[in-house]
Symmetry: C2
Subunit: 126 residues, 2 copies
């Protein structure tokens, strides 16, 4: 269920945060549902419990999940909406990347062609 790349430059706890957000966005983890416990998940993916705790803490602070001592960590009711609005802010990253490609001499055609091919691909699976 989780894939951790220990060699990546992005920290493990951040990889966990990203993947949980994706699971929620995809509807695999439903709102209100309980996440694996800190300890069980740490064993499952061979990572220290502290690292999981850090990931859950980050999700909590984003309002994606809510942790209750003694009970567990649960997906918040409006989690998907929060993730979506966070992602919308990431459109600036898209802007930066496209500008970088343009400045490096990549043609508009190549860029637009790439974006179109993905967005249309996703259209089919609708």
């Amino acid at each position: 269920m989780f894939t951790i790349n220990a060699l990546s430059r992005t920290p493990v706890y951040e990889q966990i945060v990203d993947q949980i957000e994706k699971l929620i966005s995809a509807g695999i983890l439903k709102e209100g549902e309980q996440l694996p416990s800190v300890r069980s998940l740490s064993i499952q993916i061979s990572v220290n419990p502290n690292t999981i705790q850090k990931a859950y803490g980050e999700l909590d602070s984003r309002g994606i999940t809510g942790s209750v001592p003694g009970r567990g960590c649960f997906v918040m009711p409006n989690a998907r909406e929060r993730i979506k609005s966070r992602a919308k802010e990431k459109l600036s990253a898209l802007t930066a990347l496209v500008e970088e490609l343009l400045q490096a001499g990549v043609s508009r055609e190549d860029i637009i062609k790439t974006v179109d091919s993905i967005t249309s691909k996703k259209e089919e699976s609708k």
Copy 2:
């Protein structure tokens, strides 16, 4: 001429590499031209000479520049083409980012609109 963000997660030497590549792509640093010396640039942007050396070494290994002991570091004749082909490989990063946004629930319209607005803006300054 150089702007270093010491707080960024991307290493200083990498920021230098990026900015030099941009200067070359933009035609400000021309092919065959000599870059500032390791020591002078280190003073100019208040960074350790070793950090500059690491940046120049990276550029050398990419074939963007060529360093000659005793003479200096020079922009290679085919530098712009090398940068462009490297950037083309980065189209996969664009793919990944767009897919991430889609999965997070951002609409195709928002994505395409963002890309179009940038590419058309650059069209004007042609």
